[in-house]
Every structure is written in structure tokens, then in C-alpha cells.
Subunit: 459 residues, 4 copies
Amino acid sequence: MSEKPWDGRFQESTDKAVEVFTSSIAVDSRLYRHDIEGSMAHCRMLAKQGIITNDEAEKMVAGLAKIKGDIESGHFAYSDSLEDIHMHIESALTQDIGETAKKLHTARSRNDQVALDIRMYLREVSRDVIALLKDIRTILVTLAEKHDGVVMAGYTHLQRAQPVLLSHHLMAYYEMFKRDEERFTDGLKRINVMPLGSAALAGTTYPIDRAYTAELLDFPKVSANSMDSVADRDFIIEFISASSICMMHLSRFSEELILWSSSEFAFVVISDAFTTGSSIMPQKKNPDIPELVRGKTGRVYGNLMSVLTLMKSLPMTYNRDMQEDKPPLFDTVDTLTACLDIYRRMLPNITFRERRLSETTETGFINATDLADYLASKGLPFRDAHEAVGRTVAYGLGNGKELQDMTVAELKGFSPLIEDDVFAFLETRNIIDRRISQGGTATANVREAVAQAKRDLGL
Amino acid sequence: MSEKPWDGRFQESTDKAVEVFTSSIAVDSRLYRHDIEGSMAHCRMLAKQGIITNDEAEKMVAGLAKIKGDIESGHFAYSDSLEDIHMHIESALTQDIGETAKKLHTARSRNDQVALDIRMYLREVSRDVIALLKDIRTILVTLAEKHDGVVMAGYTHLQRAQPVLLSHHLMAYYEMFKRDEERFTDGLKRINVMPLGSAALAGTTYPIDRAYTAELLDFPKVSANSMDSVADRDFIIEFISASSICMMHLSRFSEELILWSSSEFAFVVISDAFTTGSSIMPQKKNPDIPELVRGKTGRVYGNLMSVLTLMKSLPMTYNRDMQEDKPPLFDTVDTLTACLDIYRRMLPNITFRERRLSETTETGFINATDLADYLASKGLPFRDAHEAVGRTVAYGLGNGKELQDMTVAELKGFSPLIEDDVFAFLETRNIIDRRISQGGTATANVREAVAQAKRDLGL
Amino acid sequence: MSEKPWDGRFQESTDKAVEVFTSSIAVDSRLYRHDIEGSMAHCRMLAKQGIITNDEAEKMVAGLAKIKGDIESGHFAYSDSLEDIHMHIESALTQDIGETAKKLHTARSRNDQVALDIRMYLREVSRDVIALLKDIRTILVTLAEKHDGVVMAGYTHLQRAQPVLLSHHLMAYYEMFKRDEERFTDGLKRINVMPLGSAALAGTTYPIDRAYTAELLDFPKVSANSMDSVADRDFIIEFISASSICMMHLSRFSEELILWSSSEFAFVVISDAFTTGSSIMPQKKNPDIPELVRGKTGRVYGNLMSVLTLMKSLPMTYNRDMQEDKPPLFDTVDTLTACLDIYRRMLPNITFRERRLSETTETGFINATDLADYLASKGLPFRDAHEAVGRTVAYGLGNGKELQDMTVAELKGFSPLIEDDVFAFLETRNIIDRRISQGGTATANVREAVAQAKRDLGL
Amino acid sequence: MSEKPWDGRFQESTDKAVEVFTSSIAVDSRLYRHDIEGSMAHCRMLAKQGIITNDEAEKMVAGLAKIKGDIESGHFAYSDSLEDIHMHIESALTQDIGETAKKLHTARSRNDQVALDIRMYLREVSRDVIALLKDIRTILVTLAEKHDGVVMAGYTHLQRAQPVLLSHHLMAYYEMFKRDEERFTDGLKRINVMPLGSAALAGTTYPIDRAYTAELLDFPKVSANSMDSVADRDFIIEFISASSICMMHLSRFSEELILWSSSEFAFVVISDAFTTGSSIMPQKKNPDIPELVRGKTGRVYGNLMSVLTLMKSLPMTYNRDMQEDKPPLFDTVDTLTACLDIYRRMLPNITFRERRLSETTETGFINATDLADYLASKGLPFRDAHEAVGRTVAYGLGNGKELQDMTVAELKGFSPLIEDDVFAFLETRNIIDRRISQGGTATANVREAVAQAKRDLGL
């Protein structure tokens, strides 16, 4: 039975099963570095304010540095009886430097301490995620440039709809990840707020200088209400929500890579180094990475639901339930960063089968819209043009002929407006290059979009 | 059997059950105004670009205005066979002004049209929510001022922890709703982007001017990639996510109001006009509104999960699944705005029982931390002071005495450092007013927080 | 301002906005029939027990019957001020038959009344769902028989894995829906329990006969604890959970139908009557129904999360939050039954393109496992056989040759055990028919599975 | 770089980052025992069918037994390059017994193997959960007996509603956990089905005897369709769903224990051994266990959402996404069993403060319903009686008098039907004991419920 930081009023010692059940050390040991850095800043502030002496502060800072070294070199023992990372570090400090260590907890509580640790952790993680998203955007731009001019079918309802450039398709993901990045950046504004000094819930009686602690820890802002500071976790939910949206985007990209790896689509080949096989079926080469990323989407969604449920209906201020914010947060961070990282590695190892992509624009009446546009350009209202082309397609389906394979005479049967110039009009490249509306798939537009992206990325 | 806008290639007419199953008119009729305004702007842009004549544009705009009037006056018939609001309006326009109406759909598709409608709707709704949040923040500030100086127990783990000011407690919610407002404001940046002109997925061949349409519709930005524009709904998820967080905050406030309305807490009386009774138990007066708000939290969380699941793994670009984005979005908007609105009405109808609140600071050893601080201020390390006070509390529990009810002699038994000045030190008002750290509950701090809030709100 | 059933102790009338906010009549009017039937049984029991006279009971039952008629013929007015369906009916009864009506509420409360109504509704709905699932299973069996012997690629990781029978594939869904049916049947045990007589929460002082009420309403069981009876909604969560699993199965079937409708797979043609087109692209024929069903999956998942969140942490017994159980329940019922119904209609309107399906077994080295089995049957350990075939496949990929297109000499290069008999061994039909393990895809097995299914369905 | 079981067709070795990303060994090593037992049964069946020799089988079974021992004694090394527990065991077996080991994988695949392992694991876990629930039901019955006759306020809307027995309240939880148990038992029917022999997806060509394997492993049933067997995880979702409902029940119990531990309610004292304190506030004694259980509810809900999302829209049959079923399943199992176990330990360590509980029935007009019943028993229609009592309560509130504190004269002012006998009628014990309806709170009824529960539990 260990000594607890709150033994005084208790007559019985904690049941061993309770120690195990309530311990969070297996989870929150991850925060050791932020906890130590936060404590160092707290020490320095206390000394600057004359609440402790400079000597005491130096002793504690040195002791904390040593503990950090011990943890990082693996010379640090964890125990459920010490509950959490905060108690572990304080206990080690007491062993190392003696009584002085007890002053570390002056003018703070575990409630504001853990709020500080998570915020420090999460702003670091947010920046990592932003960097990963930037890498992926860079790779997408590189791929778009590399495959400049490659045509393929664009899909709606998983039906071939209209021809597009592969680079246009890739740049759609560029836009999604750009918004994801913005969301993480916006969230940072609410993460990057210094809560220390809120103490247990009501603030502290010591003449502390919270602005100074914030400055030492590079926080631009100090939290405004001590009760709110220890009670809320909305910034965690916001982070997991942005992560869920990002995973949603990754799940869509993954779905496409899985489809594209099938025999039926056969649009891409993911390199052997980024696929796996089957223990039974010797021919198999499976797109495991996109499958796993798609599957891990559920994990992050689940984490979001977990923290939302957790926080529902909790009265002010801190409640022990909130200890459960960390497992879903850490799992989200690990999952999202692993998925982004493996995507970053995999994307350059995908071969796009350009000829096959091009073939998809030659069948399935993918140029039907353009035949309607052709008729509309000759004065037919679009709705009527659509109807005429619809009948032409029905005829083509019945006779096994694509539009470009019909004769002018056949085509005239559906509209007398059709002339010889229709065939050039229906060529894939022309179809694409006519879509010059801002954001459209015309080659020039897509090249400009790529150029703009490179400017945005500082490339 | 109605005429469909895509009949041409089809040999069979749509099964009636399919019409009912696929129809969205019961849901998306809500978008009629945004659809019509979007169409008007589209017309004007088409005319400006010479794609249609000014006469045609005027005729269409007038026809659309008439339809808007018809809908608003209840003279408009809906039918499942016309699928959605877009087809209803176009069909009505064709009946009213004839063939010209068919030109309305030039250079656009339902894919970009519905994206436009939702974005117009959602930016309006976001602004409404922001206004409601501002109202609630204003009411909170008013309540904080009205109850200036009222003391109460602050809680952690639903245990009395340290005395705080009621206004400090109320201002914690002020901070939460302020962050909610920021989230909706940040989300608006991603909502307020003009997608029209993306057409079905690839852009359009017509020489449209998207920037002009954006200008007419007061959009600061035009979407950059046509595929992304019709394929993504991340801005909806972001809105429902911000709504979920806001409902989480409301659920916490509601939980407190429910607790506070109980016989056991008895902190507040919600006026008769804002409570209901029981058909069986004549004495009952139930806090139905906070209960319902707490319950509706699940509804918004569910909507979030619904759209996240919906969008998971959808390949590019538009898929019919995405029609299902609107029921959870609209339900979220209705639920959130109803909850904020009823809170806005109810809050001023709550009476805080100041004497009862004050009593909660007199029992439960709520001044124990301050006794520890007292000892610490006399040189005892905080951890030791904590231990001594813990034993004092154990003694008090056993003897039915609060700290302030013990004699100096009794207290000295736990630490010789204790002197007569301890009693003034332990008075609630002093305890509160010593918590002068930034964001703490000292009266002066809370008054400054209120003053700052009023400046922020322009009051 | 209406009269409330609880006006006595209230000094102020309910705020109009509160009436609207708390009213559930727009949602729970759906329960009118169950509410009336429950009330009739309650009347009859009260009379049998001598709590009211037979005359009073007859008068009330007749009055209730009339109200039922009025509601069903549309001659019944709803108003938010009457809160819910229970008050509407009681209020109408009072208008119709006068003072006697007030006795209807003897020995019951709205708390047990609404619990009764939902349980009556939900057992009816469960039986409907079970019937729909039986229909779909019947159709699957019919399709399996109709396509007896049709071969296709079986997939893992969306890669062609091994040949299977189309009917085997269809019967996999048969099994899933069979388990779904079992889950709804199991849930019924917990739904079909009679709660009336639990009153507000503590039971009633009247000498009621709950078993008799249960008998009249065809409940096999009476609830055992009055507090539990009015406080729990676990049977609703269980129903929505079973619905979520069923939607998950439907989403998988839908995903396959969408894939199979693509130009790339081209395995099926859904009839024109069960697809829709595009307002822009004349060639499009979209699998809207499976897409919408797939999308609606999120809706049911969201409803599950909604009720789970709702019920979390509610103290005993009834809380007003629980009014929010009905919107997600009703939406789940509507969504699930609509999806099952439209599937029931659509499935017979799907044409399987048998030749195309057959082709998928001829490429992609889908017979590679069987070559390994061939080698294993000649004594090579399976892992070694797998490795040899892996190299053969690599050779085939490099030289554009399927296994069956290689010469014996070429094949012998990878294993000297290969002889001429290999080609028969690798024929699709033989591959399939060798898989005679119980539950395997051999024609005889699948025919037996179909026969068993028909026996199970009583066909 | 390790050897993979599918190296044959691959030209490049797997990227190290891919090995780490796709490895599941850190998670699925938990299944080692089930994997080994399943493999032993498979061996024996293969030998019985003459597919391998008895010698080979014995060698493999002995080798597997040794590996099991090594794992359990900690002498087994794990590595990401061996992917999963199946490969680890097979690889160790090959090292131990040489070439023969390779025959273990005859007539099976990892797809059916992992399905077997999870089903074996989950039926074991289900039985553990059922046993834990039985323990908790036993404890509840014991507590109900121990506190026989203790009265307390029953609540609706967290308002005092009617007096009940504490044992009645406790038995409400008994009923909930009984239904939870039933759900796990029902789920077992669908878990306890033997999938081995389904092979990769299509069944196997070997003359296996699946019924024999099932017999060896004590499965009552063999799965019917090989594709379904490797493709579905509905039984996992059903388990997590039942777990979510059970956690919902625990969260309600926890909420009550937290409320009841507050100074305001003060209904219970949880022993020191099952609570913790604060590092800052020396007086604090926090109900950490119920708080953590309440918080962990979100975790299980999140896991449910995770697997539902995971499985949504996956085409047949096995997809790598499905590897992600295990983290949420295992976390659910760990969380649920830890929560049930700690409840089992904590419940006997709760002291109910009987006098305080009794006091709650003496204020708050909790006997108002009974005054209305009193009037109704004298012939007044209940709705009118309710109204009269409502006015009496309003009078009492204004004059600070409970009903039992008024004079007959005062009471007569609200209804002339009131006589002297009213006071006995309004006594708590009488109020409770009049509620003799089946399932009501009358002492005799509750004693009978407890007796019935003991019979059900075999006590």
C-alpha cells in the first residue's frame, strides 16, 4: 500500500482492485514530457514571484530534468499505486531531492496540471498532423504534375459520367486535405490557451503570474475562467471531430484505391512493397493499406462518440469521468498520424495505368452530355437536347454502338441539327478542354490549379 | 406517371414505390428560397455572359419570384413524382412561362445546384446560431451582474470543493458558449464558398462567370475544384460537430439546473411558466425544459454519427447516398436552435435561492483547502499541510464539527502553527476574495471578467 | 391557454414557447391506436375488478372506439397545448362522454401508459420486420434456384479469389437475414412484457389485475418491478441495434449491387423501373435504390447512438428526456421497413449477366489455389505448393498467360509434379464442385442449402 | 525481412513501415489459446479423415502444446514481421517440429481460422460476463434483504415523487441486469457456431469433417455458408451492443451513487477503500469508481460505433478492414468486465444511511398522490382529486406546511371529503404498503420479488 497525496482524512487504505481500476498511468505516461516542462515553467514562475526561492526552483528544475532523462532512457518504474503520471513524477522528485519537492505543487492542482499537459500535447500533435497533411498535399501536386494530361472517366453514382483529367481527380483530394488542415489550424486557437493557475477549480491565493508561465511555455493566451479551465474538454472533441472528417476523406481515397486495384477497374498497381498476399491463394495481391485505413475510420468515429458521450451531462467542474478522455484521444492521434504517414509513403508507390484510364472514356456513352451541349449550342433548349441524346443512347445500347461509332445519318435520326463536326466535338480531349469554367477539368485550368497549389505550398 | 428530366434512354417508367422511396421533396422543400435565389443569380449571370438573352433572364426571374410567392402563401403543390425541390420549381416555371424555363438549367446540374442551396441555407443558419449564442452570453452576463457577490459551493466530483461566486460559475458557461460561437464562425469560412458552375462534376463548357454569381449571392469565394465541389459534405459534418459540442455544453448546464431544482439541492426555482406538472402526482413541478434539452443532446450526436457514416468510403463524386445528408442536418438545426431559443427564454425565469447557495459554503469542510493554504503560508510544505488538514477533517467528521466550529486548541492539536487569525482566514468571503489569480473567483476578478464580457458583447 | 392535467399547484400558466418545445404530439400521434386499445383493456380490467362500474366501462370503451374512428377518418384536431397523444384522447373522451372519462386514468399514469403504448407498437413493428425479412429470404432462395449453376468470381479484398456459384453468394445474404430475423425474434421476448399498473413509479393502491390486462392485450408476461417498468428503454435500444445490424447487411448488399452495376463490373442490370437518370448526363442510369439504402444505414446508426446517449446516466425513474426516445425509434422503423420493402420489390427486377459473371472466373489466376491444392494432393506440403504457384503466377503476369493457358512444360518448370491432368483440375466447374465441405460452394452443397432454406421457410 | 506465407508472386519485399502498419500481433496475441486449441482440433480431424497421418497429428498437437506453454510462461517472442498470432504460432511450430508443421494449414485459411478464434474467445467471454451479472444480481438481492423495510423517496424528473422501499429501488437494477444477462445468452446462440472449414471463402476440397471439429471444440452448430462464415462479424456487433446496454444500466446506477454520495443527497457512504481523495482539497472523498464507470460508458458506445462503421458497405467476403474488429471488441470486453467486477466489489462496501433516506419521505409533499387517492377512494374522480390536492400543495408551499402538518380544518378547505382518517392514510409505511399491485412497492410484494429472485438464482 502506497502513500496517497490525500491520505489524511481516510481511515482505510485503498483497495488494491480500486488502485488498478482507477489508475491511468498506463495511458497518461505518454504525457511525461509535457508534464515535466509544465512543472519547470511553474517552478520558474513561482521563483520569479518570490513564492519559492531561486535555489528551490533550481533544485526542482534540475531534479525534473533528471527524471525526464530517466524516463527517456527507460530507467523509470511505473506503478498503479501512484495513479497517474503527475504523482509518479512528484514522487520521484521527492525521492531525489527530498522535502523541497513538495513545494512543486504550490498554487496548482492536478486539475489544472492535466489540462495543461493535454493542451501542450495536443498543440504539438496538431502541428504534426498539419505537417503530414502538407506532405500529402505536396505528393498529390507532384502526382498531378507527373500525370499531366492523362484522361479518365469521372464518376457519379459509380457510373461513368464525364471524362476528366486524372490530375483533376487528384486535386479534388488536395482540396479536401487543405480544408482538413484549416480545421486543425482553427482548432489550435482553442487548444493553445494556458490553464495553469486555475488550481482545483477556483483559482489560487498565491500571487502567481499566469502570463509569465504562458510566456515560458509559449502560449499566446491565458484561460479566462478557472472553473471552465478545469471542467471542459471541448478542444479535445473538436480535435477528434477534425480527425474524423480527415479520416472520412482518407476512407474515400482508400475506397477508390481498392476499387482501382480490382481486376475490374485495374486503374492502378500498388507496388509489391505496399501490398500483401494470401496464405491460401497464391495469386492474391491485396490492397491492405487502403483497406486498413478505411477500416480505421470507424475507430476514429468511435473515439469521437466516446468523448461526446463522456462529457454529456457532467456537472461542473472536474469529474473523474474525464480521465477517460485520454484513451480515445491518444488512439485518435495514433490512428490518424499512422494513416497519414502510411499514405505519404504509399502514394508515390502507386502506378497509374494510363492506357486503361484512357479506355474508360471511350465507352459507356460518357460523351453523351457533350452531344447534348452540342445540340444546345445549336439552339435546342438543353432539356430537349438531353431528351434527344437519351434516345440516341437507348439506340446505341440496343445496337452496341457508342455515339462516336454512329454515322451522321444515324445521329441525324435523333436530331437534324447534328452535322459532321460532331465527331471532333465528341473527342475526349476536346470534351475535357472545353470545360474551362473556373474549377473545371480543362487542361489549362488544372495546370493553373496545380501551379496555385505549388505557390500555396511554397514549392 | 410524371415526366422525368432524364426519360430519354429509359424504356420503362419508374416504379411508383421507387418514386416514393427516392423522393426527397418532403425534406428538401425547406430549401425553396435558397434554390430560387440561387437560380435568379444564375439567370442574371447567364444573361450578363450572353448565354441567354436579357429578356429570357427577366422572364425567368419574374417567374421564379412568382413561385416563391406561391410557396410562401401556401399555393404550391408538392408531389413525390417530381423528386426534389429543384424539379418542383423548374416544373412550375415551365408551366408558368413555357419553353424559356428549360434554359434555366443551362451550365449547371442538380449536383452543384443542391451544393449551392445547402451552403446558402447553412450560412444563414450559422448566423442565426451565432446570434442565439450571443443572446445567451448576454443573459449570462446579466445574471452574473444581478447576482454579484452571491457565494455558493463549487464542486468537483459532485462533492463540495471550494467556495465560488455564483457569477463565476455562470461565467464558466459564458466562456463555453463563446468558444461555440467561434467554432460556428470558423466553420462559416468553409461553408461560405460558391460551388455553382461545377456542373455535374467536371465544370461546364459555357462561358460562365462564377465570380459574378458569387458576387450576386454575396459569397466571398468560389470553389476551386469541380469534382470536390459536388462530392464533399465536410462542411455539414463540421457544422453538426460544432452543434454537438454546443449541445454538450447545454447538457451540462441542463444537468446542473435539474440537480439544482431537486429538493436536495434546492438552489433554483424555475418559474411555473417554464415547468410542467404530473397527471398523477399533484405536488410535482418538473424541470422539463432542461430535461428535454439534455435528452435532445443524443439526437444531435446521433445526427453527427449519421452523416459521418453516410460519407464514409463514398467514391468520387456525387452519390445518391448524399441525399441523406439533409434529414440529419435539418434535424440538427431545428434541435439546436429550439434548445438555444428556449434557454434564452427560460434563463431569465430562474430564481436563484441565494440563502441556500450561501449555506452550501458553511458545511462539508469546504474551507479545508484554505486551512492548508494557511499552514503553507506559515511555512509548512503544502503536501504536509494537506495531510494535517486531512486529519483535522477526519476529526471533525467524527465529532460533527466543521473547521470553523473548532477551538484554536483543538486545531492546534493538528498543527501548532494555527493561531486565532485562522477564523477570519476561513470565512467564505475571504476565501473567495483571496483567489485573485487571473481567472480566479475573487469578487474583483469576476467583476472584471463581467466587464470584459460586456465590452466583448458591445454592451 | 389550455387546461393542464396538473394545474392545481401552479400559479402561472405555461409559456406558449414551452408548450411548443415540450409537445410531442407531432411525433407520438402515431401511437393513437395502441393508446386506445390499451385504454380499452384498462377499462375492462377496472370494471372486472369493480373499480369502476360496467356501465362506466362500456361508456368509455364506446367513446374510445369513436375517437379511434375520428382519428382514422381524419376528423380529429391536434394541438401542442394538449402535449401528447394520451392527453388528446382523454380530452376528447371528456368532451364526448363527460365526467366519466376522468375515471379512465384511475390506477395508471402516463409513465406506465406510454411504456405500454411503445411496447404494443414495437411488438407489432417487430413482427412486420420479421415478415419482411422472411419475404427477402424467400426471394433470395428463388433467385438462387433460378440461377442454379451460374459461376462467378468470389472475392476477398475485392480481388478475385476463388470461383463460386452465384447462388452460393446469394445464400450468404440469406444467412445474414436469417440471423437478423432471429435477433428481432429474441428482442420480442423483452418487448412483449406488460407494464401497465406500474403507475407513476411505485405501483398503485387500486386492486387491479395486471394479469387480466395482459391477457386482454395478448401479453405473455407482466413486468416485475414498477420502477424498472417506467424507467427503462433498453428494449428500444435492442430493437434499434438489431435494426442497425440489419442495415449493415443491407449496406453490404447495396455496395455489391452498386459495384455490380458499374461499367467495370457489369454483373447486373437493375431494371429501368428501379433506377433513375441524370438531369444533365443523358446516358446515366444510376443504382439509386442501393445507394439510398447504403446512405440510410448511417441514419439508423445515428438513431442508435441517439437513444444510447439519451439513456446514459439518467437516474431512476422516469425523466422527461425519455420523450426523446420516439423520434429515433420511429425513424428507425420507417427507414428499416422502407429499405426492406424496396429491396423486396427491387430484387426480382435485377438481371444477372451470366456470361459476364462466368468470364470473371477465367482471368486473374483465380484457379491458383487449386493448382496449389493439386500439388498438395500429389504430396507437396501446402505451404510449398503455395510458393511454387506464387512463382507460376508471377511468370504468368509477366508473360500475359493465365495458368490454363500455359503448357505442361511451362508448368513443370515450377513443379515437376504437374501433369496433363492439371487442366481438367483447373476447370471452373470442377474447382467449384470439389468444394464439398459442409457449407462449401460445390453445386450439390448449394442445392442442398437451397432445399434446406425452402424447408425452413415452409416453401 | 521475414519470409511471408505468400512470397511467391511478389518481386519486392514488404516495406518495413507496411509491416508495422498492417501488423495485428500486439492486439491479437490475446487469442493465442483459442488459436492453439482450434489448431489442435483441426489436426485431430485431419488425422481422423486420413488427410494427415496420426503421427503427424500427434507431432503437431504436441508442438502446439509446447508453444502454448512457452507463451504462458513468457518464453515467446513476438515480431511485427510475422503479422498476426496465426503466423507466429505456425512459424514457431515449423521451427520446433520442422516440415510437418506446414501441413497444419491444410484445408483451412486464416479467414476461417480467425473467425474460429474470435468465436471461441467470445463465447468464453460471454459466459464470464453472464457469471459477473449473476454475481451482481446476487449482491443486489442480498442488499435488498439486508435493507428490508427501509423507506426512501422514489423520484421522477429527479423530483421526489412517491415513497418506495430501498429494496424495491435496488430490485429495479436487478431486473435490468437480468435482461442484460438474457441478451448475452441470446447472443451466444449466434456466437457459438463453428466456422472452420469455410477456408478462404468457398469451402475446401479436402474431405474434412466439420461436425467432428465442432464436436471436439464443443460447438453445437456448424456454419451453413462458407462465404458468410468468413465475411460477417454481426455476432461481434451484437455482443458490443448488449455490452453498451449493460453499460447504460451501469451508468444509471453510477449516476445515482454519485448523486447519493453528494452532501445534498447524502444517501450513501462508499467506504474509504473504494473512494479516493484530492491532492489539493483535504476534505474531499470522491466517488471515483462510479464516476469512472459512468465515463467508460462512452468508451463502449464508441466501440459499438466503431465496428458498425467498420462493417458498413464492405463487399463480400473478407476484407482487411475486418482486422480492425478486434481492438474495439477487446476494449469492450476489458471495460465491461472491469466495470462489473469493480461493482461486484464495491456494492457490499456501500453504507445506506437509512435515517436520511427515511427523511426524504417526510417533505416535498411526496404523499400528495395518496391524498388524491384518498379523495378518489371517497368518490371524487381522480382528475378532480388531483386538482384539489394541487391547490392544497400550493397552499402548503406558501405556508411552509407539509400535508401531514395541516389540520383537518385546513385540509377540509380544499375538499370536504377529508376526515381524521387522512393522517394514517398519509403515513409513509401505509402509502408504501397500499401499493400492492403486482410489481408495486408494498413490503409484501418486494419480499416476494426478492424471494423469487433467490429462487431464480438458485440461492
